[in-house]
């Protein structure tokens, strides 16, 4: 699916937990997420902390969208 969105002419950032799978399915901009059942959250944190964590990830995703890439790239910390 990520490839089809990219093919439609849209830059895509794939926020996903298992980055090797993301690489296999052909995503170009990849941001690693927290855990499979809650990629953009952490139920162990309280609500504000959790939202701050999510905000950090989303900002990282936006940053990836604003970065020119040449092929596949995983945006680690």
């Amino acid at each position: 699916m990520v490839k089809e969105l990219e093919r439609a002419g849209l830059p895509v950032v794939h926020v996903c937990t298992v980055t090797p799978i993301s690489l296999t399915v052909g995503a170009n901009r990849i941001v690693p997420a927290i855990a499979i059942p809650h990629p953009l959250g952490n139920p162990a944190l309280d609500k504000d902390e959790e939202k701050a964590l999510r905000r950090k990830l989303v900002l990282k995703a936006l940053k990836a969208l604003q970065t020119e890439v040449d092929g596949q790239k995983v945006f680690e910390d």
């Binding site: 937990t17 298992v18 980055t19 090797p20 799978i21 927290i34 855990a35 499979i36 059942p37 952490n42 162990a44």
Partner: protein, 131 residues
């Protein structure tokens, strides 16, 4: 190596409960796979292949999996999921769902045969894990 045996096979539970960490699933084969998947999603690592046995997944009612539980990272973050385990368990759940599930097996001697074979395949994995 520290690992648990996740199984719905009573024979396997009997065999290993004294010597190993056994988590018995009182349910069907798919319940074992789903339980394993949820553990894998949270960082556990599969040690044996979830589609073992040429007995197709909708034929045997039993499944026994060796699962290495992740160490909790000290910083409170989540253990990273093991990509190969995620892939294998995902494929296994899909493979299970693609076959027509047949009538539930109730014949005791047949059930015993399935238990024996499942145990045998489990033993070969345990032998490898313990060596």
């Amino acid at each position: 190596m520290k690992y648990i045996i996740l199984t719905n096979n009573p024979l396997a539970e009997d065999e290993f409960k004294e010597t190993h960490d056994v988590e018995f699933v009182d349910g069907k084969l798919i319940d074992v796979l789903i339980k394993a998947r949820d553990m894998v999603n949270c960082g556990a690592v599969l040690l044996n292949h979830p589609l073992y046995g040429s007995v197709k997944p909708n034929e045997t009612p039993y499944r026994s999996l060796l699962i290495k539980c992740p160490a909790e990272p000290a910083d409170g973050s989540f253990p990273a999921a093991d990509p190969e385990s995620v892939r294998l368990i995902g494929n296994a759940v899909n493979a299970f769902r693609k076959f027509i599930v047949k009538k539930e097996i109730t014949n005791p001697s047949l059930l015993e045969d399935f238990q024996v074979v499942d145990l045998s395949l489990l033993k070969s994995a345990v032998a490898a894990a313990d060596r």
